[in-house]
Symmetry: C2
Subunit: 373 residues, 2 copies
Amino acid sequence: MTLSFTIHATAGNARTGILATQHGDIRTPAFMPVGTAATVKAMHPEAVAATGADILLGNTYHLMLRPTAERVARLGGLHQFMNWQKPILTDSGGFQVMSLAGLRKITEQAVTFQSHIDGSTHVLSPERSMEIQHLLGSTITMVLDECTPFPATEDVARASMEMSMRWAARSKDAFVKRPGYGLFGIVQGSVYEPLRLRSAQALSEIGFDGYAIGGLAVGEGQAEMFRVLDFTVPATPAEKPRYLMGVGKPADILGAVERGVDMFDCVIPTRSGRNARAYTSMGEINLRNARHADDPRPLDAATNSPINRYSRAYLHHLFKADEMLGPMLLTQHNLHYYQELMAGIRAAIANGTFAAHADSLRNGWKQGDFAPL
Amino acid sequence: MTLSFTIHATAGNARTGILATQHGDIRTPAFMPVGTAATVKAMHPEAVAATGADILLGNTYHLMLRPTAERVARLGGLHQFMNWQKPILTDSGGFQVMSLAGLRKITEQAVTFQSHIDGSTHVLSPERSMEIQHLLGSTITMVLDECTPFPATEDVARASMEMSMRWAARSKDAFVKRPGYGLFGIVQGSVYEPLRLRSAQALSEIGFDGYAIGGLAVGEGQAEMFRVLDFTVPATPAEKPRYLMGVGKPADILGAVERGVDMFDCVIPTRSGRNARAYTSMGEINLRNARHADDPRPLDAATNSPINRYSRAYLHHLFKADEMLGPMLLTQHNLHYYQELMAGIRAAIANGTFAAHADSLRNGWKQGDFAPL
């Protein structure tokens, strides 16, 4: 094992600590902005760092198709290619193969699929996924798993999970260990407790630098997701970082931290930002709403948002006029809000005020936006 | 007169100096990035300032329709609205009324037109244009003129120019003088020397803080534009700043500076940047070209481009993947290149090396891009 994880404080099941890597420390609980195609959409990389992000996520599926892993490797690896020197986690490509690619065929050996860009045929096996992520130079590599459809019967979920566990072992065998670089396993098993426990056990026996929980945030709803976390998280090794993939909204993240999760990624802050939706201490706010047209107030004065020098009226105008600066500013705001959320959570866990802090966050979101002028 | 213009050095007809305003000094020759709808497309305002721009241009036509001048005024004026504290020049709205608006009717009194956004009817007179630009808080206001079509017969051009001169007098009467704010007249007359001379004379008699040259860069070609400048520029008062509207490419700007022009605006660096076209010391470069796909070199190492830490391969990838960061970075580069061009021109005029510097610039553009690897 080649990553070092230190837990500095706990509050119930919640923990705060540091995951040390070749490319720097990741303060946990951590939120990873998504940089699908070697760019966090609408953001300069230095602006991503300025929001407080310690790590970002790249998508193996997109990068293997364009510009290709081999090209990125020739150009010095993903860090150099995109000018991001902090840690990068890459997913395995499995999720996007299922959600984006054309005709797919899955066998025990590998998944064969057609590119959504040009229809060309590609093969992704655990071994090839490890090779791609190595070519990219990922700080944290994810095992290739099959993303179990939702809903799935227990029999379907079991067969899928069991193949993913065999793929996890093959991924481990193929992964090239390097100091400061790590490999995470992914717990599957849909919503079924016995399957999740068996998956967590199987992964623990193989041994990974961290344990991701996959197959959630796929339509099951927050209550069901929390129910699954309640039995899944304790089944993973407590001394290793836990990563809930593809989650989520601020309330999802807070609830998962309370259940012992350390790492998150999600397109919500970036995608919503491009669509005029802001996440704030007062909940979600849609800047396209006409109520903002004459409002001179900043978006969220309770936070240190880097766009608080702009009025809501200006942000509203930018979206009405389809100006790129609207998505640019609101993406920046949302990523900053998410990082401020994580920083507040980490501080509260560290100083023993996490329960009160969580109440305060939820009260703010529930209270909603202030009244129009 | 309420703006102070000081010429520090000359080289032939070229001059360098300072136009002092309420919002700060403008170093001339100056290039003004275009911020049509209260934003320079794809740029944070602080990034625009970081390119070296002393002033930007806002479009009265767009702003009067959305968000409206009255709303901008309620929100503290255009500077505060868009977070740009340096000088702003606004055009009069006349040019866009002719190029963008729907059904138009021009009378001696005013132009009536339909919004290209929602078809609503609006009236723009010299007095209303002054009022709108006052509401916006423009540092430099432009008189309302009629943009003479090109080509135009001498009779058509004369009638149009003469109405524009009457509108210039009405604009001057309606303009509210304030220290550090100014009003520029606009010379018209198409390609006809007698008309241009008469127009310049008429404006001089009215008296303005600066003299713009309108009705060029409308399809007449660079040689014809230079021919018109050769007799038009000397007809304007030498002690006032001269502004060539809507120009242009780097070679157009250089040739116009040699003919005594002090100020420029153009959408080329921003629009081209969004379309993968870069302006460099080696001429124009299209980043969509496949020759860049594997090229690890920076775009233009001979300049201090803020995007030189990215490879051409990365820029190519961003445009192929339709990522917003491509337009963001290339707009930033182009605006920086234009400002570096202007800074070099100013320095060369000041230290007596302008002719050699102009040769050097033209040789670089003519030589073109370096060979593929």
